[in-house]
């Protein structure tokens, strides 16, 4: 059973094999809705909006909010400050909430006894077990230069896959320290990790590191990465090949 909802401004898809339990899948979407109500910076009524408006102090916030803040702070320290939910004078925890919510949704399915499923929220994926052909889930990496294409096919089971990036259609990013000299900056960084929470937060941070990001992923035990630069050249971490189908 495969179901897609547009929630949190993005398509969220849940596919579960061997189950037609609509109420279970609906409870997963209800969970995402609950997360959105609390953490969306687009909703005036959300708890995060109350914090940003100064109506609520972070230390007085709900346990869920404080847990997210703690995870964000831990990630900030682990990534040399490249991950930071504090921007432009306000908190935006989306970078940590999304991966965490997908992982938690996968937890709901696991606790209900589901062994073969994936949860995909806006291109960040947690996949468990196998697909309907009894093989690992086939996860494509989208072409950052043409969103209708894929440039890599991975076999994923029991891991999280997250991609950070931007579509720049061939424009060059310029090094402000050397104007006039085009550099091939990165446009897409895919990270495979032990779960989507870990993969997503490190993909976000490593992307902000620029070219150095793939080295950061290379150093992380249990993580592999696939980086695409603005010239269409990809760089793979040492063990990435074990996930590659084509």
């Amino acid at each position: 059973m495969k179901t897609t909802c547009i929630l949190m401004g993005m398509p969220i898809t849940v596919e579960v094999l061997g189950s037609d339990d609509e109420t279970l899948v609906e409870s997963v979407f209800a969970f995402f809705r609950q997360v959105d109500e609390r953490f969306s910076t687009y909703k005036e009524t959300s708890e995060i909006s109350a914090i940003n408006a100064g109506r609520l102090r972070p230390e007085d916030a709900s346990p869920e909010m404080r847990a997210i803040f703690a995870m964000a702070e831990q990630t900030r320290r682990e990534t040399d400050g490249y991950f930071n939910i504090w921007r432009d004078g306000r908190y935006d925890p989306a970078g940590i909430v999304k991966g965490w919510a997908i992982a938690a949704a996968a937890g709901i399915l696991r606790r209900a006894g589901c062994a073969h499923f994936y949860v995909d929220a806006g291109g960040d994926i947690e996949a468990a077990g196998h697909n309907d052909e009894g093989e690992p889930w086939r996860v494509g990496i989208r072409n950052p230069f043409d969103i209708r294409q894929i440039v890599k096919v991975l076999a994923i089971s029991g891991c999280g896959v997250a991609t950070s990036g931007t579509y720049i259609r061939g424009q060059h990013v310029y090094d402000p320290h050397a104007p006039g000299r085009p550099i091939k900056e990165i446009v897409s960084l895919t990270v495979v990790g032990p779960n989507i929470y870990e993969a997503d937060r490190f993909a976000t941070a490593a992307f902000a590191m620029g070219r150095r990001g793939i080295l950061f992923i290379e150093r992380l035990a249990g993580f592999e990465g696939y980086m695409i630069d603005a010239g269409g050249q990809a760089t793979l971490t040492t063990g990435f090949g074990r996930y590659v189908l084509s």
Binding site: T3, C5, M10, E64, A67, A70, I150, Y197, E198, L236
Partner: protein, 208 residues
């Protein structure tokens, strides 16, 4: 005596010789240093990376203490509820790889959506963190026929440090379009969020 003296270089000549030997030594050293630096750039990049902070990876995703799935809600059961999510019951993945944008949910049973009206609809500019995203949706015969970007991130506000190192010797390849079918696609998160948001807004114009 005079012969010996004449074979000896003059003091001026000796000074010139001394300075040219010194200059040669200095130049050789400099050239060697530059050469080593160029060769060592890869190693330096790796060394720089190895200075990155160490990370403890949690095997278990930390869970907020009280978060449990909310009581079940059936989408569309409460017609008055504000923007009810579109519910799309999609068939099993077939041969074609999934593509963005998703097919318009014309067959959605939970939320009745009228057929789209033909025309071009422009979504709002949405902040995608790395830049703005704006899409235009083209509807033909009541179906979403094309989506094009009017605005997309071409700069990165968060662009922090740009190093001058050559890339270390990890595996490298030119990307190639794959035709194999897939179950699901991983893509740029932040932009696709904004993409979906802008597209959704454009489609809602087409419905009205």
């Amino acid at each position: 005596m005079s012969q010996r003296q004449s074979s000896r270089p003059s003091p001026l000549l000796r000074a010139v010789k001394k300075y040219s030997v010194s200059a040669f030594v200095v130049c050789s050293f400099t050239a060697y240093a530059v050469h080593e630096r160029m060769l060592g750039a890869d190693a330096a990049a790796l060394a720089a990376a190895s200075q990155a902070p160490s990370v403890a990876v949690a095997r278990e995703v930390p869970m907020p203490p009280t978060l449990t799935p909310a009581p079940r809600q059936i989408a569309g059961a409460a017609p008055g509820v504000t923007p009810s999510p579109m519910q799309i019951a999609a068939p099993r993945p077939t041969a074609a790889p999934a593509m963005l944008p998703p097919a318009p949910p014309t067959a959605a049973p939970a939320v009745a959506l009228g057929p789209y009206k033909d025309g071009e609809y422009t979504g709002p500019v949405v902040d995608a963190y790395f830049g703005n995203v704006q899409v235009k949706a083209t509807i033909q015969n009541g179906q979403l026929a094309d989506v094009s970007f009017l605005d997309f991130p071409n700069h990165r506000r968060t662009s922090v440090r740009i190093n001058n190192y050559a890339m270390p010797y990890l595996t490298s390849e030119a990307i190639q379009v794959q035709s194999a079918r897939v179950n699901v696609i991983s893509g740029a998160t932040l932009t696709s969020e904004a993409f979906a948001e802008s597209l959704q807004a454009a489609l809602s114009q087409a419905r009205s």
